[in-house]
């Protein structure tokens, strides 16, 4: 367990700056998710913390001690890679034991710790197998196991679930979170999936083209997005942005819009383009006069207006979001 802090961390590749100064203080045992679209610099940030990428300027400190110049192994971190990066010629046991072996841990202790981690991850039966004899989910567990046995101060995850199917992803994200709570290890988790970010994070960092646009608890970020980018990126379906009367551009989340019958009713006129009934809820896509599409999320039991009918949109002024 340890604290982790980033002080104005920047990264340049040659002349192009890809991280423009990120600041965060992470408390002991916190689970932080870095989320953002592809290419925004999530992996780069994580790799700087891991020590796989040099820090151009700023400072990274683990437990208060600057680690910028330290090799990954001396930072007391463990990392789970996107493609697992298991050593193909080693058994599951050896994969998990490799780091300990290098550190010179006594044989008996290695066996004990590997078996303990294997029990925790339910991979005890596979210890003698090679990685290629495992399913994707099992490999994922081995990669987790390799990180756990080291008993590191900080866990780093780079999109660890992106190669799993949807169902397994849901299961694994619960397991990872539960495991992390049990072990209480400070964690930094990269994903481009906002559902993962919302469900797993204690706090999340929303990255936008190398800037940390907002850092905060998921629900806080959801209800009070700091920038238009955050409002558009977090939430599915995304926030609607439109011009409302003379009041400029505003954002309203789909669940905060409601449909009122009859042309000319409500605050804004629109026509129904199509509807997607999902059972518990229905997404109604409506077209404004200027042609832009908005999404309304309504209860599954509510009546679904027919395509092409003119309707009015209404919302509570408290739910309007304005940026810059």
């Amino acid at each position: 367990m340890a604290t982790l802090s980033l002080r104005d961390v920047k990264k340049r590749f040659g002349k192009t700056e890809v991280i423009h100064g990120v600041n965060i203080d992470i408390e002991e045992g916190e689970f932080i998710v870095i989320v953002g679209p592809s290419g925004c610099g999530k992996s780069t940030l994580l790799r700087m913390v891991a020590g796989l990428e040099t820090v151009t300027s700023g400072e990274i400190a683990i437990d208060g001690a600057r680690v910028n110049e330290k090799e990954p192994m001396d930072r007391d971190i463990a990392m789970v890679f996107q493609n697992y990066a298991l050593y193909p010629h080693m058994s599951v046991f050896d994969n998990m034991a490799y780091g300990l072996k290098i550190a010179g841990t006594p044989k008996g202790e290695i066996a004990e710790r590997v078996e303990q981690a294997a029990d925790l991850l339910q991979i005890r039966d596979f210890l003698a197998r090679k990685p290629r004899e495992l399913s994707g989910g099992q490999r994922q567990r081995v990669a987790m196991g390799r990180a756990i046995v080291r008993k590191p101060a900080v866990f780093l995850f780079d999109e660890p679930l992106s190669n799993l199917d949807a169902k397994l992803r849901v299961q694994m994200r619960l397991e990872i979170r539960q495991l992390q709570r049990e072990l209480g290890v400070t964690s930094l988790y990269v994903t481009h999936d906002q559902v993962e970010a919302m469900t797993m994070a204690d706090r999340m960092i929303v990255m936008n083209a190398g800037h940390a646009d907002q850092i905060g608890a998921p629900l806080e970020v959801y209800s009070n997005p700091a920038t238009e980018f955050v409002a558009g990126f977090i939430g599915s379906p995304p926030t609607n942005f439109f011009e409302a009367g003379g009041r400029g551009r505003i954002g309203v989340r789909p669940e905060h819009l409601s449909i009122v019958e009859g042309a000319g009713a409500g605050q804004l006129g629109a026509t129904v383009a199509n509807a997607e009934p999902l059972g518990a809820e229905t997404l109604v896509h409506v077209r404004l006069e200027n042609g832009s599409l908005l999404t309304v999320r309504q209860d599954g039991a509510a009546p679904i207006p027919a395509e092409g009918t003119g309707i009015g949109l209404a919302w509570d002024g408290r739910h309007e979001m304005r940026f810059g």
């Binding site: 891991a50 020590g51 796989l52 090799e71 990954p72 192994m73 971190i77 463990a78 990392m79 890679f81 996107q82 493609n83 990066a85 298991l86 050593y87 193909p88 010629h89 490799y98 780091g99 290098i102 550190a103 290629r132 390799r146």
Partner: protein
């Protein structure tokens, strides 16, 4: 019979994945027999001279000199082979076999070790002149031993390495081909693996020995076979630098057994030597066949 079985057992792994379907079709009916007939005829055709050599090594000198040449082995097998191994013509064949073995193993292991290390350096380290070194190595591909043989001889003579194992081995030990091959292989190894090892605390050489080397083992095996035969078959270089018969290698030794001028060739001994010279490469190929074929066919695992 056993030969054919072995052939059938070994064929599938060599096939390209796409060829599988055709193989299944051909394997039925008359096609099967035709293919086998073709293979057997071809085999006999290639094998015949070797058989003749073997027959010649088991009969006596007068029998060879007097046509027609017999087609079945004679009764001089033990005598001829003992004579070849212990006394030979210029030097005992056993000694030449030993020399060849040292040279071929030295060249194969040396080439593999050096090319593994240089490929490792080129792929995993960013040092100034990295590209330059790579292209310099690549350039030597275009200069076979024969082209640089005179300057190389000068250097070896200058170091006093004539008539020595080091003189036989060192000049042939650098290998652009093998370096290139390992470079290509290392580049297919995911970066994540090197990073995972780094996070696990492996220093570069530890990563090399614990992870890269075991992952390259099929490539190494395939290369070992090729390089062993390359080393074994060296002719010009040993001929040039070994003047002492006790340092002769077997391949050049055979040539030197041929009579010059009016001497009478001791054909049974020469033939016995030829057969003996074939045995070590055959053992290496057969012994490493499985690994060798996997190394050529598969790229991963």
């Amino acid at each position: 019979m056993t030969g054919r079985d072995a052939l059938a057992a070994e064929t599938p792994p060599v096939k390209a994945p796409g060829a599988d379907h055709d193989g299944m079709v051909e394997r039925r009916g008359a096609g099967l027999w035709l293919t086998h007939l073709g293979l057997i005829v071809g085999l006999l055709f290639i094998f015949f001279p070797i058989w003749l050599a073997f027959v010649a090594s088991t009969i006596s000198q007068p029998e060879i000199a007097r046509p027609p040449m017999p087609l079945l082995p004679g009764d001089q097998f033990i005598e001829n082979y003992t004579r070849a191994l212990t006394s030979g013509i210029n030097a005992p064949v056993a000694l030449m076999l030993g020399n060849s073995l040292v040279m071929a193993l030295g060249i194969a292991f040396g080439k593999i070790a050096i090319s593994l290390l240089s490929a490792f350096a080129i792929v995993y380290f960013r040092f100034p002149g990295r590209q330059l070194f790579f292209w310099l190595i690549f350039l030597t591909l275009m200069l076979p031993v024969e082209v640089r043989i005179v300057p190389t001889y000068e250097v070896v003579a200058g170091f006093g390495m004539l008539n020595s194992y080091s003189g036989l081995i060192f000049p042939l030990i650098a290998s652009a081909t093998a370096t290139f091959l390992f470079r290509q292989f290392f580049m297919t190894v995911p970066d994540e693996l090197a990073e995972a090892a780094r996070v696990d605390g492996a220093r570069p050489m530890r990563f090399f020995f614990d992870i890269l080397l075991p992952m390259s083992r099929t490539n190494i095996a395939a290369l070992f076979v090729i390089l062993f035969i390359y080393g074994w078959n060296q002719y010009l270089w040993p001929l040039l630098i070994t003047t002492d018969p006790s340092m002769n290698t077997i391949v050049m030794g055979i040539k030197q057994m041929f009579p010059s001028g009016d001497d009478i060739a001791d054909w049974p001994v020469i033939m016995a030597t030829s057969i003996l010279a074939m045995i070590p490469p055959v053992i290496v190929v057969v012994g490493m066949q499985r690994l060798f074929i996997r190394g050529l066919v598969e790229s991963e695992k």
